[in-house]
């Protein structure tokens, strides 16, 4: 079985830090998009027609929620990256321990 250790100790540590930041920030962003925060309007991909709706801003709200689901999916990907980096860190520690 080929060795599962493909990252060095520093790359794995970088991966953990990046994943931690990514998970926290994307989850928070997802929550803020879900509650239709006005400040994030520029990041919602709306077009001119979406504003012609007479029934209120429902279309915009749906777009908001779509973006929030995208954020949650990205957060999930970062969780996977974090798990992978954590495994690499553990493997590196074990290798260091055995060589000693």
């Amino acid at each position: 079985m080929v060795s599962l250790l493909c990252c060095g100790p520093r790359l794995a540590a970088c991966g953990i830090v990046l994943s931690a930041w990514g998970v926290i920030m994307l989850i928070l962003l997802g929550i803020f998009f879900n509650v239709h925060s006005a400040v994030l309007i520029e990041d919602v991909p709306f077009t001119e027609e979406d504003f012609d709706d007479v029934h209120g801003p429902e279309k915009i709200y749906r777009l908001y929620e779509q973006v929030s689901y995208n954020c949650f999916i990205a957060a999930g990907l970062y969780v996977l990256l974090g798990g992978f980096s954590f495994c690499q860190v553990r493997l590196n520690k074990r290798k260091e321990y055995m060589v000693r």
Binding site: A38, V39, L40, I41
Partner: protein, 724 residues
Amino acid sequence: MAFRSEEMCLTQLFLQVEAAYCCVAELGELGLVQFRDLNMNVNSFQRKFVNEVRRCESLERILRFLENEMENETVIIKSEKYPETPLPREMIDLETVLEKLEAELQEANQNQQTLKQNFLELTELKHLLKKTQDFFETETSLPDDFFSEDTSGLLELRSTPAAAAAKLGFTAGVIKRERMVPFERLLWRACRGNVYLRYTEMDTPLEDPVTREEVKKNVFIIFYQGEQLRQKIKKICEGFRATVYPCPESATERREMVDGVNTRIEDLNTVITQTESHRQRLLHEAAVNLWTWGIKVKKIKAIYHILNLCNIDVTQQCVIAEIWFPVVDTGRIKRALKQGMERSGSTIAPILTAVQTKMSPPTFNRTNKFTAGFQNIVDAYGVGNYREMNPAPYTIITFPFLFAVMFGDCGHGAVMLGFALWMVTNEKALLAQKSTNEIWNTFFSGRYLILLMGIFSIYTGFIYNDCFSKSLNIFGSSWHIRPMFSNSTWNEHVLEENEALQLDPAVPGVYSGNPYPFGIDPIWNIAKNKLTFLNSYKMKMSVVMGITQMVFGVILSLFNHIYFRRTINIVLQFIPEIIFILCLFGYLLFMIIFKWCYYNVHVSQYAPSILIHFINMFLFNYNDPTNSPLYTHQKEVQSFLVIFALIAIPWMLLIKPFILRANHLKAQRMLQLPPISEGPAGDTEVEITQPNNSKKAGRENHSSGHGGHDDHEEENYLKSSGPW
């Protein structure tokens, strides 16, 4: 609320020679005393304890050698606690131990090198024998062909050479691969082509014992005829540093030699591994104690260095030292001296006598781990004079706060706070690591500074309503858009025509009248003219805070002048400084706050520009129609302030030098007067000089302990306080 540097006193310390070492050791552990160098004009090589210092340095050399040897092999153990200062007799023990260790290690290294050299030669010989086997097998027919072509025509005349020609000599050896080509060429030229060279590369690279590098070598064999050629070849081989090995001619002998060499190689391998393990064992044992020894040697050397600064009494019984220490620590120092005396086993107590001096004492600011960082920053701008106001306690708040004013983001501030909290809570563990990374050390020694910067940044982040560059709407914005429609200012047509629309707070209802409770209204975050508003706001706020801090600094200088009783400085320096800064920049501050309070939304388009007013104030230009005055009689007030400030400039800069010069001349004349003037002539002379010092010279006070009096004679009276 004034923080000044500590009060210091100069004392003479009389120590018995036997007790001197231990007392200095105890004072060193305490770290509160500064020794004056009493042997300034003595060369370092002529001081009393120069031999001991030399011995310490040779011990350090041995320790460095050991550390070098250990660098790649073992880990040096560092313990938490620093070892105690060793007694002088321990130095002799250390010397014996370290010198023995050094000799053993060098011997082990030497042995290892010799063994490796032998191993190298045997390996080369083994490869050589293997390769020459091939040469001899393919070239057994050589002697027959070699001479038959060239001398076929001369065979009748030269019959004997054929018989002698069968006897071919050969030399076998090993040479570095890089030198093979020039070696071959030189052989060809020197022997005029009468030698036959064959060579192959050695497959395995060998390790050079001295440099421990890998070298690649070639095996060669040279066939020749005659004694002269043999000599030539031998010299050439020596010149190219090729090692020549005696290779037997017959195949059986070669086989026996190969077996012999193999057995010898195996034996040598075992010996080498044993030597290596012996050397490793030596290093391991030394590694356990290396760090402790290093600290001990450093301490001994420091103590002797200090003892070199002291005087030895005429009777050779007593060591005299002059020390500066804070007055409040007298008890601790006396206790340390008593401990030192007991440790050395002497019975005579050290004697402390105070010394009166005009020298300016050293500036000592007591700090703990929290204030040390701030004191370092302040000292970087310049260490204050003795007993001057120490600005460091105020900087604990002002530095981080001004940083926060510039930073102003509560999200990033929280990240910074997290980082600082991690550093502060894991203080002990991180201190024990003793990292040499300079950047990390800078961050770690400023951990309390970063902590405060983070806390203040979160506060200013809430004020600026800025969290990762987005605003938080906690209380609900005070601006409403619907009134713009109900007022008919905006309609469908306006919305379609214009790309950007402006909310007009003059329209009733748009602005609710109650400002956002804490910080900047979140509506500004989605406004296009956010930066125009925020820049003006932040710049004015920074100007207000900067001017306040400058005035605070000038007022602190007043405390210094009062403490040192320098009235001349108060009148000639502090007062014009305050006038200048208040008339100009204090007025600017007033204008900023006035404009903020006075103008409302209905007249805001007619509000004047403060910057233009300020510039025009200096130019005395009041004819600008585009800038209306802020308040009535502004012209008179401003003219008065500018002229008052301009008067303060020569007041501040020009008067004091003349007064100081007059005082200096008077003092010089006073020094020369006493031998000359006995009678009334002297008094009149003194009186004549008086009118020259017309301005406030009478109030001058010489006897404040200012640094400029160092050229006066030092007046030392020994006030004996008796043995304690």
